[in-house]
């Protein structure tokens, strides 16, 4: 049965997996639909840096042969995806969103892509990002500014801006992002899709260009919570190439998605409830109420050290990123964008003692966050204090003439959970009156991704559909 491109693009990964296995759709026609979609939308969005169309078609034909022969590999077999262009792909240019690596072809794949390729996923291409993942706008001076599908004059968030924009624009069925201060959850929140930052070490970082070794996380950006669970099933687990990757047991993350959350205890993080824009406040309050209506007990809980985690995140990122970029700063400083070069210059001035102190302080913040989860299954907080800012907007003013710094109105909600390394998911809660996505975070205990996903799934079902972006 032939399907229209629009119909093919409407299926999430969970639906595609079933239809591909049943041979109701073909990986070849599905891949063509996505490649056509990229061609029709990407001039406006700039979500992709490289489109691997020939390789995608070849992989689709291979997947089709295998599925027809009864060798179905699982839910990602024949599913077209995109990778943030920090992820090494052997022989395929991996720029890191930079000019410096504009011709770099890695000698090997990153583990995340190795596992997805083994699961039969089809690579559509490499997704645009903030240069070297060092920023949250994805306004990339070398590869084009990424635009938010809900408002082309708005940032998509970052650094995984292309990964989130492609999901919402339906130019990839699922994508991979990375998160050091919020770079999975911020674009998911501002673009209106699901972004899961797993526990630090849950997913291998091997072959992913680092921003800050001890804060970097790799995870899925998807249309639905179920898709995020399915993707985590593929990419989670110990990797001998990443000595920091965890040996903690990997469970089936999709198993509990239909379980009720009645009786669960959920804490609203008190330190993340102030200075919200009116639309964020209203949407977050409604989401908390929705969780109560599902039978959960929702109360407020404090993590007193949480406001200091911005300092910790800043110091650790500045110090580690500057060390990572040391050689290029010595040889090619002029090839960085101004904002990234300035951050690296700041990193040169951070003393080693401040770095060590910040690392020691992480333990205290995690201890308090764990304390907040005593007798509670998860914590919740808004995804950001404001909806997606306009491109170039650095301060936002309210009706009373007060102003907020756009960067901190976003980062202070996400960076604490990079500091603690806890799993955290961003999930849409609806649209603002001017049609921009709003979002909630659900945060769990270390390695309790299944619980985070269970709560997110229950909420997602109760919430219903979020209106799609305007046609591109």
């Amino acid at each position: 049965m032939a399907h229209s491109h629009d119909e093919l693009l409407s299926f999430d990964v969970a639906a595609l997996g079933a239809k591909l296995q049943a041979r109701e759709i073909s990986p070849v026609e599905l891949t063509e639909a996505y490649l056509d979609r990229i061609q029709r939308t990407d001039e406006k969005l700039r979500a992709y840096i490289t489109v691997t169309d020939d390789l995608a078609r070849k992989a689709a034909r291979k997947a089709e042969h295998e599925i027809v022969a009864g060798k179905w590999r699982g839910p990602f077999h024949g599913v077209p995806i995109g990778l943030k262009d920090l992820c090494y792909t052997k022989g395929i240019v991996t720029t890191g969103g930079s000019k410096i690596l504009s011709d770099f072809k890695p000698p090997h794949d990153c583990t995340v892509w190795t596992r997805l390729a083994r699961a039969g996923a089809i690579l559509l291409g490499k997704l645009n990002l903030h240069e070297f993942a060092y920023g949250i706008t994805s306004s990339n001076p070398h590869h084009g500014f990424v635009h938010n599908p809900y408002g082309l004059d708005r940032i998509p968030g970052g650094s995984s801006g292309g990964s989130a924009a492609a999901i919402v624009a339906r130019s990839a069925a699922a994508t991979i992002g990375t998160d050091t201060g919020g770079s999975i959850r911020i674009p998911a929140a501002l673009c209106g899709c699901v972004g899961l930052k797993p526990t630090w070490s849950r997913v291998s970082r091997y072959g992913v260009l680092p921003l800050a070794y001890t804060l970097d996380h790799v995870g899925p950006i998807t249309r639905t919570v179920r898709d995020a669970a399915l993707m985590l099933n593929v990419i989670a687990g110990h990797d001998r190439n990443d000595s920091t990757s965890s040996r903690e047991r990997v469970t089936d993350y999709a198993q509990s998605l239909d379980a009720e959350i009645s009786g669960m205890k959920i804490g609203i993080v008190r330190e993340l409830t102030d200075n919200l824009s009116a639309d964020v406040q209203q949407s977050f309050t409604a989401a908390a109420q929705q969780l109560r209506e599902l039978g959960a007990t929702v109360d407020e809980v404090s993590i007193p050290s949480l406001p200091l985690s911005g300092i910790i995140s800043g110091i650790v990122t500045w110090a580690e990123a500057t060390e990572i970029h040391h050689q290029w700063m010595a040889t090619r400083p002029q090839d960085y964008g101004d904002d990234v070069r300035r951050m690296l210059e700041i990193g040169m001035m951070i003393p080693g003692s401040a770095y060590v102190r910040a690392q020691r302080a992480r333990t205290r913040v995690l201890a308090q966050a764990t304390d907040a989860l005593n007798n509670r299954e998860v914590l919740i907080a808004p995804g950001a204090a404001i909806p997606a800012p306009k491109i170039g907007e650095s301060r936002r003013f309210d009706a009373d003439g007060g102003g907020v710094d756009v960067l901190s109105a976003i980062l202070r909600f996400t960076s604490p959970f990079d500091v603690t390394g806890q799993p955290a998911i961003a999930i849409p809660t609806g649209l603002s009156p001017d049609g921009l996505p709003l979002s909630m975070q659900i945060i769990g205990r270390p390695f309790a991704e299944a619980t985070v996903l269970q709560v997110a799934s229950a909420y997602e079902k109760a919430r219903g559909e979020v209106p799609a972006p305007p046609p591109l």
């Binding site: 210059e345 102190r357 020691r360 205290r364």
Partner: protein, 71 residues
């Protein structure tokens, strides 16, 4: 007296990377770095006395073994 001056920024960048930035460009770098060093003192309020940095010998050993295995 500021914790980091624009002159210090310029000198460090010249010495470490052999490139020069303008006085104007050095000011925000000095201000931000100085503010961050100052803010780092606030972390003392978290009672860090008994806490060590979370690096750990197992990671050190695993990294060394991985390098050795490649030879």
């Amino acid at each position: 007296m500021p914790l980091v001056t624009p002159e210090t920024v310029k000198r460090v960048l010249k010495d470490a990377y052999d490139y020069e930035i303008s006085d104007e460009a050095a000011v925000p770098v000095a201000n931000t770095a100085g503010a961050m060093i100052s803010l780092a003192h606030h972390l003392d309020s978290l009672e860090l006395d008994e806490l060590e940095p979370p690096f750990g010998f197992p990671n050190l050993m695993a990294g060394a073994m991985r390098i050795a295995a490649k030879k």
